[in-house]
């Protein structure tokens, strides 16, 4: 599988500060690749370096086999970029914003009109297409920004904080659109510090902090790597010898929290939950069972610490 984006030891300094430090990663076709990090981690700087808006101090980048630092115009023809702050013309309507983009980006202007109609329908903006963008909600503005980027049919889309300031319903709509576009062949590189977004949307996540790559994996593997699931059991009769009761399940050390309340670690708890219930329900009168799984929040805090980033 040929990489869509290849990043080798990219470094960028701002005076004494190293904003991006020896960053290397690859993005595959039709992937939704997430840059996850706290505020000031270097996510936006990384995107700006990748699309050639910032100069590299060290390293190299290839997008679809082209170096954006050497041949930015060729790269810009095949990428789309949606910045963190939605940069549409607020006093123009959606149609005029899209025509503005078309004049700057679209090679074949004869196909623009039907494409605009299609995108406005797709993004559920058709009914409001003639209203000034100033009157749109945050989610509508983000959808318009995405529609604008899709207008010139780029292969790779860089989406900086896709749902920043968007309500829950709006977030889900934008995620659906991103996933739909991925199915149509687009590759997305998004930056986020929204754990739910990173977890639900991204195929792989690169956690960066202070400009450095901390870890890179799928959300599932990142969570799994943090530890096993924790099972908590509440029974009316205390389980005297839990090692015997749960023999063959390969559980970790059992801790008794209070009489009738214990917890232990186990891999893939969902596979064992029925068996656990069967073994304790009759003899110990099971009252409650709870399974806790490490979240991406836990992963994030584990890797980036709990210190405030302002």
């Amino acid at each position: 599988m040929e990489n869509v984006v290849s990043v080798f030891s990219v470094t960028r300094h701002y005076g004494e500060v190293t904003a991006v430090d020896q960053l290397s990663f690859e993005v595959f076709p039709q992937e939704i690749f997430g840059l996850l990090g706290p505020n000031g981690a270097g996510k936006t700087t990384t995107i700006l370096l990748l699309i050639g808006l910032l100069r590299l101090d060290e390293g190299s980048v290839q997008i679809l086999g082209v170096n954006p630092q050497l041949n930015p115009r060729r790269v810009h023809q095949s990428i789309g970029y949606v910045p963190q702050e939605t940069n549409v013309y607020l006093d123009l309507n959606a149609v005029d914003n899209l025509w503005h983009h078309a004049a700057l980006y679209c090679e074949d202007l004869s196909t623009v009109k039907p494409k605009i109609q299609e995108l406005l329908h797709l993004m559920s903006l058709w009914e409001r297409r003639n209203d000034p963008v100033r009157t749109y909600s945050g989610g509508m503005k983000r959808r318009l920004a995405l529609a604008r980027t899709l207008l010139h049919d780029p292969d790779v889309i860089f989406f900086d904080e896709p749902t920043l300031g968007v309500d829950v319903q709006g977030k889900h709509v934008i995620w659906e659109h991103i996933q739909k576009q991925r199915e149509l062949g687009k590759t997305f590189i998004i930056s986020t510090n929204d754990m739910m977004e990173a977890d639900q949307l991204c195929d792989r996540l690169l956690i960066i902090d202070a400009g450095r790559a901390i870890t890179l994996d799928t959300p599932e593997n990142l969570k799994a790597g943090l530890g096993q699931d924790i099972v908590t059991l509440q029974t009316s009769l205390p389980i005297e010898q839990p090692d015997e009761v749960f023999q063959g399940m390969n559980i970790g050390a059992v801790k008794s929290l209070q009489p009738g309340l214990i917890h232990f670690e186990i891999s893939h708890a969902e596979r064992w939950v029925e068996e656990i219930i069967n073994r304790v329900k009759d003899n110990y009168h099971l009252e409650a069972i709870r399974i806790a799984r490490p979240s991406l929040d836990d992963v994030f805090l584990e890797y980036t610490g709990r210190g405030l980033r302002d």
Partner: protein
């Protein structure tokens, strides 16, 4: 061509992002001209006077009526008013007559008027007195003859308005250009331009052409206002259009440069405003620069408005004032150089990686 037309259409649609600035830029010169022409520029002064009683006083009254431009425009309109001696003259002036032992004196009493108006009254009344004096002297009179250069008398309003035409083109193009360009940075829409694969010459060209057309429109609005108010119309609409377009191109470049360099709307707007008014005042705004001091004339040679006025003069007055060819070459050269400078600045401020 299709892309350029679309870019141009988009540029005009950006009108909606800065409506007040467009209104100020386009209509301010016409409004300013209307107010100044109506209120300030009046060649014929009303001079109030007590009813003349003696023969000499009658003589002064008729001499005042005769004072005027060589071509016949009156400078004084004597108005006889009945007043008591102790009545105050608050807003203007009045001529009263004093008769003392056979000596008659016309005393002009001023109210709240400035020294410039006092000078204007003095010039006009001196001219009236000279007429009486010359009649007395007969063959020994000091004869002053003024030969008009222009074939017909055109009011000062027309010159003033004509010299404002380049201001109109400059103001609209530079103000709007500065504001729209700086606004792209403030709203971050400049990113769209930074990543665009379209040639920068097309992008800049569309913006400058749109601004130049806006400047031209502002000039044409003023031209119509001048025509309606003074009854004077240019002999060549095409000529006016080309001159104003050249000035507007210069204004467009200055405004766009201010926006690109300052990247903030207010300072860029002020640069456009200051540049427009400076080049207007120093560029033959109140009379051909050759009629002013050497320093003014020297400075005015660096103002595009000076050359524009020299080119507009024959269109309004049917008389050449200088080398039209030189003025045309200068305007085109300055416009061309500024177009290149704007492109280079766009490259360094927008496209270059930081």
């Amino acid at each position: 061509m299709k892309r350029f037309a679309l870019l141009l259409r988009n540029e005009f649609k950006l009108f909606r992002t800065a409506i007040p600035v467009h209104l100020i830029g386009i209509f301010q010169p016409a409004l300013m001209f209307s107010l100044i022409a109506l209120v300030l520029v009046t060649p014929t002064f009303e001079v109030q006077m007590e009813p003349p009683v003696t023969a000499l006083e009658e003589q002064l009254f008729f001499a005042m009526k005769q004072v005027g431009s060589p071509i016949g425009q009156p400078y004084i309109d004597p108005v006889v008013v009945e007043t008591s001696n102790d009545q105050e003259v608050q807003g203007g002036q009045i001529i009263r007559f004093e008769r003392d032992a056979g000596r008659e004196t016309a005393v002009q009493q001023f109210g709240l008027i400035d020294s410039n108006m006092v000078k204007n009254f003095r010039n006009r009344l001196t001219a009236a007195a000279l007429l009486i004096w010359n009649e007395e002297l007969g063959g020994d009179a000091i004869t002053i003859e003024q030969e008009p250069w222009l074939p017909r008398d055109i009011s000062y309003n027309v010159y003033f308005g004509m010299a404002m035409l380049p201001l109109a083109a400059m103001l609209a193009s530079s103000l709007i250009g500065a504001f729209l360009t700086a606004q792209e940075f403030e709203f971050n829409t400049i990113i769209e331009y930074r990543l665009s694969p379209t040639s920068r010459y097309l992008l800049i060209g569309a913006r400058l052409f749109r601004l130049s057309l806006t400047g031209l429109f502002s000039g044409l609005v003023l031209m119509v206002v001048i025509g309606v108010m003074t009854g004077t119309w240019p002999s060549s609409l095409g000529g006016i259009g080309l001159i104003l377009l050249a000035v507007a191109l210069i204004g467009s470049c200055i405004g766009t440069l201010a926006g690109l360099i300052l990247q903030k709307t207010l300072p860029a707007f002020l640069v456009g405003l200051t540049f427009s008014f400076f080049t207007w005042i120093m560029g033959s705004a109140f009379g051909l620069s050759s009629g002013f001091s050497g320093l003014y004339e020297a400075v005015s040679r660096f103002m595009p408005n000076t050359y524009a006025v020299e080119l507009l003069f024959p269109i309004y007055y049917r008389v050449n004032t200088g080398s039209s060819l030189q003025a045309i070459i200068l305007l085109i050269t300055v416009g061309g150089v500024l177009f290149l400078v704007t492109n280079i600045t766009y490259q360094s401020r927008v496209l270059a990686r930081s």
